[in-house]
Amino acid sequence: MPIQKEPARRVKPYQIIQAVTGIGCAGYLLYRLYTVLIGSPTYGTETWARFMIAGLILGSVYALIAIGYTLVYGILRMINFAHGDIMMIGAFGGYFTLEAAKSIPAGGSNFSDAYPFAAVLAAFLAGVAIAALSGYFLEKIAYRPLRGAPRLVPLISAIGASIFLENAAQLLFGAQRRDYANPAVLTRGEGWTLVINGAKVILPYTGALTVILSLLLMVALYMLVMRTRLGRAMRAVSENKQVAALMGIDVDGVISQTFIISGALAGAAGVMWGLHLGLVYHFVGFIPGIKAFTAAVLGGIGSVPGAMLGGLFLGLVESLGPAVLGISFQLKDVIAFGILVLVLIFRPTGIVGEALTEEKV
């Protein structure tokens, strides 16, 4: 056998651009980190702690929503752009439940303040239920009839569904921003006070609730996907629908259940958003929806742990980024989407980097 000459490895031009951009970004980031932490510190430890707390809370909400994108992408290879609006519906579900609880007299005041645990639980249950139901019907109406169509078609349908849901909500609930009626013990802005560097840092109750609950939900979801019969069926459908059907799996049923689960998580995220940040309106799901999409891509779309990591990471970056880069906090969205661009350039498979298997037909 003739010895084959190893072809000389050519460095392609785009690789040079990639390398230069990468080193440039990394270098600048290190320089900024040095400046703000050691060189000429702008903020004290207490401020960094505040940023971290805010970032973690935001990140855990992003993570919950991002899981929905990743689950649906894993199973249908489509981006469900109406997912943020499902979160909005969940937020409204919780809002009306809390309003109702506030208006029912009980124990000297009202039900919400007298039995805060029950009221918040009811808000979550209502938000989750209505969002899960919306997810189910969204798939049934907007995506199922387009199964088998070219990929662009359901994507456009998703954008249409998103616009529809936003407008329907505006029509039903009006365009004004509504204030979430938290029970008194969960008043926004109140929390445990930590003293760092002699300054008070507040760890808000609503924030703690958000982080803990979303972590619990994420663990539960991970167990569901990895350990249960439904989870195994979901993973099988995500890999090969036809062979999954040959195993006796009802593929349409699994797809429906995936949308129900995604919707439920988005609904929980919506109620957390309302409890912690306070305002709900018909457009409230848009920005978190896009951010969570970014988080899912960042983590590696199709991967559940990737979505969780991506969400938390994005939350932290958004809240720490402006301080580290020394730019206005108004520009935090620029940082988030700038990261999306960088990820797409340097590592399209995301942090977790799950290799996308070729679509088998």
């Binding site: 993973r235 099988a236 090969n240 036809q242 062979v243 999954a244 059907a245 040959l246 195993m247 799996i249």
Partner: protein, 237 residues
């Protein structure tokens, strides 16, 4: 009544008329083979039976019940399992998870456990690799996995699409031995093969399919000695 009675099915891929009136029967306990060259309609016949590609005309009776109206997962519940072309294992799942999915329709935990031991008995290689991700198995091991997975459904009728494809000759022998063993234990088998000689040597009866039509049907022994079959499919002058 035959176990499987396919009558005059016409299956299309878009405008392509892939099956032009295929009829065949499989009796309980038989190994029946469907041989033919590339693109003759072998795989399409199996896909029509298991519901992945619905025929536009004709009937597919399993114990007298027409399968055409059912979805693929419902057909599995009626006792039809398939080892698909190219094996179709779930590459990102472990060997054990693949086998578990084979038993997806079953709820009898003890029976599943027994069948799992049974499959590991037939394919000890799989037992050594329970926790391994299936995509990292060799081609032969993947074929074992696909076969074992189909057995986990406890099918009454097993459809096998080219089990010998891409395997080393030694492994082909092993797989065909297993097919015979499975059959002796009571599973009826419809085997699609390009390796006609091998298929005819283990089958009871055979059909020859050409451009979507059955052109010959006979006992396996007769087909093996048939002039046209020898020339066209066995490569023997």
């Amino acid at each position: 009544m035959p176990m499987l009675d396919i009558h005059d099915i016409h299956t299309y891929y878009g405008n392509i008329h892939a099956l032009k009136g295929v009829s065949l029967t499989v009796e309980e306990g038989e190994i029946v083979t469907l041989i033919g060259s590339n693109g003759a309609g072998k795989t399409t016949t199996l896909r029509s039976i298991c519901g992945l590609q619905k025929p536009r005309r004709g009937s597919i009776l399993l114990h007298g019940e027409d399968l055409v109206a059912y979805k693929p997962h419902q057909i599995v519940e009626k006792g039809v399992a398939m080892v698909p072309e190219g094996r179709g294992i779930f590459a990102r799942l472990t060997v054990a998870e693949n086998l578990d999915l084979g038993a997806y329709i079953r709820r009898d935990r003890r029976g599943i456990q027994e069948d799992l031991e049974h499959v590991y008995g037939i394919f000890p290689r799989l037992k050594e690799r329970t926790r391994q991700v299936a995509g990292t198995l060799s081609g032969g091991e993947q074929q074992m996995l696909a076969t074992g997975r189909a057995l986990m459904a406890q099918p009454r009728l097993l459809l096998m699409d080219e089990p010998s494809m891409g395997l080393a000759p030694l492994l082909v022998d092993a797989i065909f031995d297993v097919i015979q063993t499975i059959n002796r234990k009571g599973t009826t088998i419809l085997l699609v093969e390009q390796n006609a000689l091998m298929a005819l040597s283990i089958a009871h009866r055979g059909y020859v399919i050409q451009t979507g039509e059955i052109v010959l049907k006979d006992t396996a022994a007769n087909l093996k000695n048939n002039e046209t079959v020898r020339k066209a499919y066995l490569g023997i002058e």
